[in-house]
């Protein structure tokens, strides 16, 4: 065997080795690019999704009904009562358990509100629209917000629950929601405003902002009643005597 052939062989081996090394480097680069590209695509899609949902849920420009001080905040039944215990009600106008609670305690809450013993706040949710396949909770919540502009939020709230359909899911008609306004004594110019407020869904965005606030606060069942920010047991919130006592103890403390 000639030495030139040996050299040729080793050169060929050397060449093959280099080619293999550069091919491997190419493959690594390609794989890295693929991974980075994939991550970027996923990030863009998910980021776009988040942006879409954020704008769908964007209520920062929501019109606020009377007594509401911030987007997502509650409608206050008796804003004049300050420096007293605060009762936060989280309810859905289509929720049967809420009606049960209201039937038992509405008159007691009326007294607390009138006497100014507690500040009553209504945070009206509308999640049952989703499970019942209608939009009655949202429309009723908007109508309730409209009634606040007429200063009738307390009686309007009670009237809606008093007239909750016996069958969950039957919902409220627009005519009913308007009639409730008449029933609680909204009249004259205030009624004209109330009427157009219902027709235009003036507070639809506000209603959604309360839904978001409820979700973020972890309110995921209705009714939820909080006294000074602490959730009350149903045994208390459904019982007039226990509720009155809890409020009295809270103001004492």
């Amino acid at each position: 065997m000639s030495s030139s052939k040996d050299t040729k062989n080793s050169r060929r081996e050397q060449l093959a080795k280099e080619r293999a090394a550069s091919a491997a480097a190419d493959q690594r680069r390609r794989r890295l690019l693929t991974v980075v590209g994939g991550v970027v695509v996923v990030a863009v899609v998910v980021g776009t999704g988040i942006a879409v949902q954020t704008s769908r849920n964007d209520t920062t420009q929501a019109a606020l009904p009377a007594t509401v001080t911030e987007v997502g905040g509650p409608i206050v039944r008796n804003p004049e009562a300050t420096g007293v215990p605060v009762l936060d009600y989280w309810e859905d106008f289509q929720c049967p358990a809420c009606k049960t609670m209201e039937d038992a305690t509405a008159s007691t809450v009326d007294e607390l509100a009138t006497a100014g013993t507690a500040q009553i706040r209504y945070n009206i949710l509308s999640f049952l629209d989703g499970s019942l396949g209608n939009d009655s909770s949202s429309r009723a919540a908007n109508a309730f917000a409209c009634s606040a502009d007429a200063g009738k939020q307390g009686p309007y709230h009670n009237t809606v629950f008093a007239n909750q359909p016996a069958i969950e899911g039957d919902g409220y008609t627009d005519e009913q929601l308007l009639q409730f306004g008449v029933d609680v004594g909204i009249s004259g110019d205030a009624f004209t405003a109330f009427q157009s407020c219902l027709a235009e869904g003036t507070y639809d965005d506000y209603v959604r902002s309360v839904a978001t606030a409820g979700a973020q606060a972890g309110i995921n069942s209705t009714p939820t009643v909080l006294l000074n920010g602490v959730t009350l047991d149903n045994a208390v919130s459904f019982d007039p005597t226990a509720l009155t006592k809890a409020v009295a103890d809270a103001s004492a403390g």
Partner: protein
Amino acid sequence: MSTTVPDVAADDIQRAFTGGTWQLWLSLVARLALGAVLIVAGGLKVGDPNEAIAAVTAYQLLPSGVATIVGYGLPFFEIMIGIMLVVGLATRAAAFTAGILMVVFIAAVSSAWARGLSIDCGCFGGGGQTADPQYLPEILRDLLFLGLASWLVLFPASRWALDRLGLFGTGDHGLIDELLDHEDPADESDGARQR
């Protein structure tokens, strides 16, 4: 030439699993099942972002701002991974991600269980408080999905996959291929021609 010499047993396994027709069909079934589950799970959550936020919040694991972002983004993430699995695009990476997702879900549900919360997992929409939590069935179900994902990570090659077009180079290779640093058949034929 190959840098490592595969031992015979591993080689047999590799041939049996990545070459067998039944494996390709089985991986197809796993892909479609897991992909469909993710698309449905995400789709049911996209419609009601507030419900999704509430479902995440109910776990009491994330601060409100983060829970909101997860509530908004997770459904899209699930749908995306699901679509990738159904069409067979970057199957292994998608399956790996789905597996991680399942591990996170199992951990979250377990922690809710351990902390004595009483919530619905919100896996397919819904979520929040429930009088009758179904933690064990939820975990078992997620374990099944984790099994499907693991199978696909091991054997991503399947019938009717976009990966077959060679976009991501994972179409015809199983994990065992890469573990053994198997030589690309194309290189071999190239070398043979040179000789």
